[in-house]
């Protein structure tokens, strides 16, 4: 009986804490859902409750978004940029994080801190010089590549790792530190090369850490605004964050319904994705090196 009561109390406590916060955190999304499917006339009418529909739900806003704007293109652009930047980040940060965690002692600390310090530079300071860099690069390479770097999504792919890599290196450095040296030493003693150890022993165990980096980097990319809107002006090359903000506000008339639809469509799948990954990498943390 005691145990059952205690069980109830613990569970109850969890609900008591998590429940209200979950409601508060998700509340804006409820508003978005209602607004997304509300008719324009209903929407501007204050005499009816904003919590539900008065004149019936409509798909007109969604239709406007998909037919009259380049929304699907923006979704695709964001996905491409996110994917490629995550890959680049992993390629750069995993080796660097490992090196800093394992092999470099005191110098490693300073380099690590140095890398982190670059993270402190705000994009509002860098976006003008970076735009210049991209333009110069574009002038040099447009003949070779047969396309213009400037104004294309690839300029963002080039620049985004500048803030994902420091962050990722840091995360991975911390993560690699938690992997006991004994594992690697054992492999080395058995005759494997350092590089081999890295690839065959360390990386498989670091899947949780790598997953974390993937999630965090992807979310950084999707949320980024300043660079995206500076480097890209053509509607067809815009990303989610800039396209919706610039194309769906016309003068003094934001298209609220369409904006809300636009916001919901990436949020829900991403949240589902993150939720799924979360279990895996927490399981990885507990089930990996410590059993």
């Amino acid at each position: 009986m005691d145990a059952v009561l205690r069980g109830f109390r613990e569970k109850g406590l969890s609900y008591l804490i998590v429940g209200p916060f979950a409601i508060v955190l998700a509340f804006p999304f409820y508003v978005m859902v209602i607004t997304a499917f509300k008719q324009q006339r209903d929407f501007y009418d204050l005499s009816h409750s904003p919590y539900w529909f008065h004149k019936g739900a409509t798909l007109a806003n969604a239709r406007f978004l998909f037919n009259q704007t380049q929304y699907t293109t923006w979704l695709r652009n964001t996905a491409i940029i996110g994917g490629v930047v995550v890959i680049i980040t992993l390629l750069l940060a995993v080796p660097a994080g490992y090196a800093l965690a394992r092999l470099s002692g005191k110098l490693g600390q300073s380099v690590g801190v140095g890398i982190f310090l670059t993270y402190l530079v705000p994009p509002t300071l860098l976006f003008l010089p970076l735009f210049s860099v991209i333009t110069q690069l574009d002038k040099q390479t447009s003949h070779l590549l047969h396309f213009h770097l400037r104004g294309s999504i690839w300029s963002l792919v080039l620049v985004y790792p500048s803030f994902t890599v420091p962050f990722a290196t840091w995360l991975l450095m911390g993560f690699f530190k938690t992997i006991p040296r004994e594992l690697e030493d054992a492999a080395l003693i058995d005759g494997a090369s350092r590089l081999g150890t890295l690839v065959r022993i360390v990386f498989p165990i670091s899947v949780p850490g790598i997953l974390t980096v993937v999630i965090f980097s992807f979310s950084l990319v999707v949320n980024e605004f300043v660079y995206a809107f500076t480097f890209i002006s053509a509607s067809a090359h815009r990303t989610l964050s800039t396209g919706v903000y610039t194309d769906l506000i016309r003068g003094d008339l934001p298209q609220w319904g369409a904006i809300m639809v636009a916001s919901l469509i990436p949020s829900i799948p991403l949240a589902l994705l993150y939720n799924t990954f979360l279990d895996r990498f927490i399981a990885g943390f507990t089930g990996g090196a410590f059993r």
């Binding site: 750069l92 790792p161 890599v165 494997a192 350092r194 949320n223 949240a271």
Partner: protein, 311 residues
């Protein structure tokens, strides 16, 4: 074991070089370092140069005026206000985040029915692209159509003609901006804390149980110290995110409301001065102000985190 030995790659001379720790380390680190130097270091140097000039418009050079920009901004009340606001904004929002994320992470450790769904709801603010969710918030705070005001008015807690103006009254505006920023960071911090909690080795848990430490005592003397390094790092990232990010303030209030500009932050003030008013050199100087401050804070916290590491 034999397989490993047999798997040693050929081409001895090449791999022998890589066997030396120093060389391998440099090879592994250099791509990242080169990339960062090129894409952050270079532009940063340019921005530093700009801050010492009177560059205007969009041009990337101007006349050298030494510390002129810095001196002018230092004595500018608008700048000083911006610094104070940034401090308030960062400290309060991160305090909120720390407490809430810590609570949520602990509560989410155990299994209970509906946990997956609740966790999904909690992750939403982080999953949503920021500019888009901020537009949702501008609608929630709208001066005419705010759903919060509608609710308050219908509960007879606010006047119909003059309801609270969440982004137009100075204190409310600061509160709103802090709340929205905390809202956005909480899922992120919760995840980091969850990871930290989950990485507490089972042996420690078992040892604590043997010692009879449960509930709050366990939290205070076991979980908390073990979490300190990761909490510090999470806090550090949160502080950096907050101090250098202008999206929330820009989209919600754009530094307003006038005349006190209660939500003007260093980032938005730099943007207004440098870009919207065209004084590029001054804008760069203002942005640069953040750097040494954050660096000191960062280094301090990192040292603290290292010392707090329990092995």
């Amino acid at each position: 074991m034999e397989a490993l030995a047999a798997a040693r790659p050929r081409g001895r001379r090449w791999t022998n070089v890589l066997e030396r720790p120093g060389v391998l380390a440099s090879v592994l680190i250099s791509p990242a370092v080169v990339f960062i130097l090129a894409l952050v270091g270079g532009p940063l140097a340019l921005a530093v140069y700009l801050s010492f000039t009177n560059a205007i418009g969009g041009s990337l050079h101007g006349k050298w005026i030494g510390l002129g920009n810095f001196r002018r901004e230092w004595t500018n009340p608008a700048f000083k206000d911006a610094v104070w606001h940034t401090f308030l904004f960062t400290v309060i929002s991160q305090a909120v985040v720390l407490v809430v994320a810590g609570l949520l992470a602990h509560a989410l450790l155990k299994k209970f029915p509906g946990k997956w769904l609740l966790r999904f709801l909690i992750l939403l603010p982080w999953a949503a692209p920021l500019p888009l969710s901020l537009m949702g918030w501008t609608w929630i705070f709208d001066t005419t159509y705010s759903i919060i005001n509608w609710t308050l008015q219908h509960l007879h807690l606010a006047s119909t003609v003059s309801p609270p103006q969440w982004l137009a009254q100075p204190r409310l505006a600061m509160g709103s901006v802090i709340a929205v920023h905390a809202w956005r960071i909480i899922p992120f911090a919760t995840v980091i804390f969850l990871a930290g909690l989950a990485s507490i080795p089972k042996e420690v848990d078992d040892a604590a149980a043997i010692d009879g430490a449960t509930g709050f005592r366990k939290f205070w003397s076991v979980s908390l110290p073990l979490q300190l390094p990761i909490a510090t790092v999470a806090l550090l990232f949160g502080i950096v995110f907050t101090a250098t990010d202008m999206a929330v303030v820009y989209i919600l209030t754009n530094g307003g409301p006038p005349p006190s500009n209660a939500t003007e932050m260093v980032t938005t003030w730099a943007y207004k001065t440098g870009i919207e008013s065209g004084s590029l050199g001054a804008g760069a100087a203002i942005s640069l102000f953040l750097l040494p401050v954050l660096a000191v804070v960062a280094i301090g916290m990192l040292i603290f985190a290292r010392r707090a590491e329990v092995t």
